[in-house]
Subunit: 205 residues, 2 copies
């Protein structure tokens, strides 16, 4: 794509570096910004620069934070001894938006995946174990991707907790709400039959 202005071209190629944004979309976004007031565009650029420069990661759960401890960990109304283990920050946001979880988080930073060169040492597993011990965690809920890598990670971590008096659970897996049986994959359907649940617990939810 050849543009008549190198300033425009730079801005477009910067946007096109973002995941899922091609040259055409980048151009559309840049032209949108071009039409905005200068102050609006300054605010856009500066808030992103500022975010990258000043953001911190919570020293306890590795979630993003404005200070040393994130807002979730700092909230005394939340159950600090129930820890939900997630892969990344996006998963924290997804669970938070359900408004169904009142504990705290632990962001692993990924899952064990030898093929991608990610072993336990690259993840925040050690800090999780230390933290659970120190804080006398009562329950650890795994909310990881339903993949072999996710399952491997769960298996690896739960072995470490074997001798400790902590409840280890994982989020329920089965047929998605609103999903149709005939389109569910065999693995999910098979597991959902094996792990069937009493109707009363389902109805009471």
């Amino acid at each position: 794509m050849q543009l008549s202005s190198s300033l425009l071209e730079n801005a477009v190629s910067e946007f096109a570096k973002l995941p899922g944004i091609g040259k055409k979309t980048a151009l559309r976004l840049v032209i949108h910004l071009l039409k905005q007031e200068e102050a609006v565009v300054n605010h856009f650029g500066e808030s992103i620069i500022k975010m990258r420069r000043e953001i911190k990661f919570c020293q306890r759960c590795f979630n993003v934070a404005d200070g040393d401890i994130c807002a979730v960990c700092a909230n005394s109304l939340r159950k600090q001894e129930v820890i939900c283990v997630v892969e990344n920050i996006r998963d924290v946001v997804a669970i938070e938006s359900t408004q169904q979880f009142n504990g705290v988080y632990h962001v692993l930073g990924g899952v064990i995946s030898p093929l991608d060169g990610i072993g336990p040492d690259q993840l925040n597993i050690e800090p999780l174990i230390n933290r659970a011990l120190k804080e006398k965690a009562q329950e650890i809920i795994f909310a990881l991707s339903p993949t072999i890598q996710g399952d491997t990670t769960i298996y690896y971590i739960q072995k470490k907790f074997k001798s400790l008096p902590v409840k280890i659970t994982t989020i329920a897996r089965g047929i998605a709400f609103g999903g149709e049986l005939e389109y569910a994959d065999e693995m999910t359907l098979a597991r959902s039959i094996t792990n069937r649940m009493p109707v009363e617990s389902y109805v009471n939810r």
Copy 2:
């Protein structure tokens, strides 16, 4: 969406203001930037701020430019007396990327659309007429949207040129290359039959 960091939240809401970018996509983009080096993110933000602050519009054709005149107008290899009239900068980019046009452009800034409150005075029509007169344009090619508004704009402008010795054309309309006849709308198909072209001119292209 509630995030554990107000810095992150600001950046996400800035991205979510862009057209076609929802909260979830915005979060994905921001988290991508969060993972980049600080210098990379600074460059991203600054190139956008700089673009908005320093970009100019070509005094002749209203295309974006780094200086007073855009790169297309400044290019002496291009036919300066063949003017392609387009709605916006994106259309310039689209035509430029075909590498089939060797003339210059004129960006109208939209099309006449009374329902949206856009009359001829809101568009760069007057400058087009003055420019065509002054520069003794030989041909004016309309490359506007195939809508009633586009056609109205063509009609309005060509009336102004009636008494002048300038050739007025419009880009060909018909069945798109690779398109299937049975899925073409009736209007397009009807017009493409009425405006049928000699096979020799088609083959020679």
